[in-house]
């Protein structure tokens, strides 16, 4: 599931699963930074929504694989801008490359338990 962090080159990706079928994502500087970035339409972090597929760092370059709940998501550019802006605030990060991927297909199984709870509180059935 999660590749171990190394000193300067690392790649981490989901998804492992808890017993209740919610997804679990890594905790490290990069993933935790994106936990601070919310989906513009819902008060839920991109990580808890399961939109972050993988994060790779090589020196100052960070590569993110990102998916969306829908191919017609109207907030695509805004989300990418927010990701880029937050990651560039990490010491040593000089560039952020974001690739949009459609595999794995987003389903609600990519939600964390926190994401699932937040959606329910927002009145969205999951």
């Amino acid at each position: 599931m999660v590749a171990p962090m190394t000193s300067n080159t690392s790649r981490t990706s989901g998804v492992s699963r808890e017993s209740n079928a919610c997804a679990v994502y890594p905790h490290n500087e990069l993933w935790d930074a994106l936990r601070e970035v919310e989906d513009p339409e819902l008060a839920i972090s991109l990580v808890d929504m399961g939109l972050i597929v993988s994060i790779q760092r090589s020196g100052g370059a960070v590569a993110v694989e990102l998916t969306y709940t829908a191919m017609g998501c109207p907030a695509m550019e805004m989300i990418q801008d927010d990701i880029r802006s937050r990651l560039l605030r990490i010491a040593g990060v000089t560039s952020v490359d974001i690739e949009v991927v459609w595999e794995p297909v987003w389903t609600k199984a990519r939600l964390t338990s926190e994401g699932r709870d937040a959606l329910l509180l927002s009145g969205v059935s999951v």
Partner: protein, 253 residues
């Protein structure tokens, strides 16, 4: 996953395939959006908005592939600046009535879905990588189309006649859209998992039960475990470059 044989013929066929998928999606999205405030019910208006968003999203995910396949085409790779679109002719103009919306959803969107399903293991990986997500989103479009065809047909009288006419008008071109039987370039290269004749059969298997249940006069009949056409397709009007039918009055011009 095998690699696409990079012959010029295969590359051209892939670009042509992406263009006709993207262009039809693009126009479906635009015309579906026009019914956000004009559909027969509030629920179907909301559905029109969601379906438009889906179709435009599918198109948006496809056009960038054209840029990598044919960079020399420049502005022709962008929907905003293209001058030649490869959409079926019945998407040359907005839907005049709700039954036109439903017919397009069932027919050309159903045909597009048939091709995406045939691309799940495509040797052209960028298409395979998008196909599963498109199919996930198209499930609700198919349910919408099936439900509305049955509903309109059940009304009987002029309403039944209207949906029947809309389907009849778009029928031949949709069946032709898969291509001629001897065009096996994409299947041979593993870009799609079947040639046009098989794709046509799969499409018939998907839509024929709805048509039969709704008692609509469409030229199909049972044949063994599947279905077959009972009238020849108008290949004399077929445009093999843009994958569409020319108007009957433009034959030979």
């Amino acid at each position: 996953m095998q690699n696409v044989t990079q012959t010029p013929a295969v590359k051209t066929a892939i670009a042509q395939l992406i263009a006709r998928l993207a262009d039809n999606k693009y126009y479906l999205g635009r015309y579906f959006a026009e019914w956000c405030s004009g559909a027969p019910t509030l629920e179907s208006a909301v559905a029109s908005a969601a379906m438009a968003q889906d179709e435009l999203g599918h198109a948006r995910a496809l056009y960038p592939l054209l840029r990598s396949l044919q960079p020399e085409a420049g502005a022709e790779n962008e929907p905003e600046t293209r001058t030649v679109f490869s959409n079926v002719s019945y998407l040359d103009q907005s839907f005049a009535a709700w039954e036109d919306f439903i017919a397009a959803n069932v027919l050309i969107d159903g045909a597009l879905t048939t091709v995406f399903a045939a691309a799940l293991a495509s040797s052209y990986e960028p298409l395979a990588g998008r196909a599963r997500k498109v199919l996930q989103e198209e499930r609700t479009h198919a349910m919408h189309g099936d439900g509305w065809v049955r509903r309109l047909a059940r009304e009987g009288g002029a309403v039944h006649a209207a949906i029947e006419r809309a389907l009849q008008r778009d029928w031949d071109e949709t069946l032709c859209w898969f291509g001629q039987d001897d065009d096996e370039t994409l299947a041979s290269a593993g870009v799609l998992d079947a040639p046009p004749s098989e794709l046509r059969a799969r499409f018939l298997a998907a839509v024929a039960p709805t048509i039969e249940a709704a008692h609509l006069a469409i030229p199909i009949r049972h044949a063994g475990d599947g279905w077959e056409l009972t009238a020849p397709l108008p290949w004399d009007r077929w445009d093999a470059i843009r994958y569409r039918l020319n108007a009957a009055d433009k034959q030979g011009k």
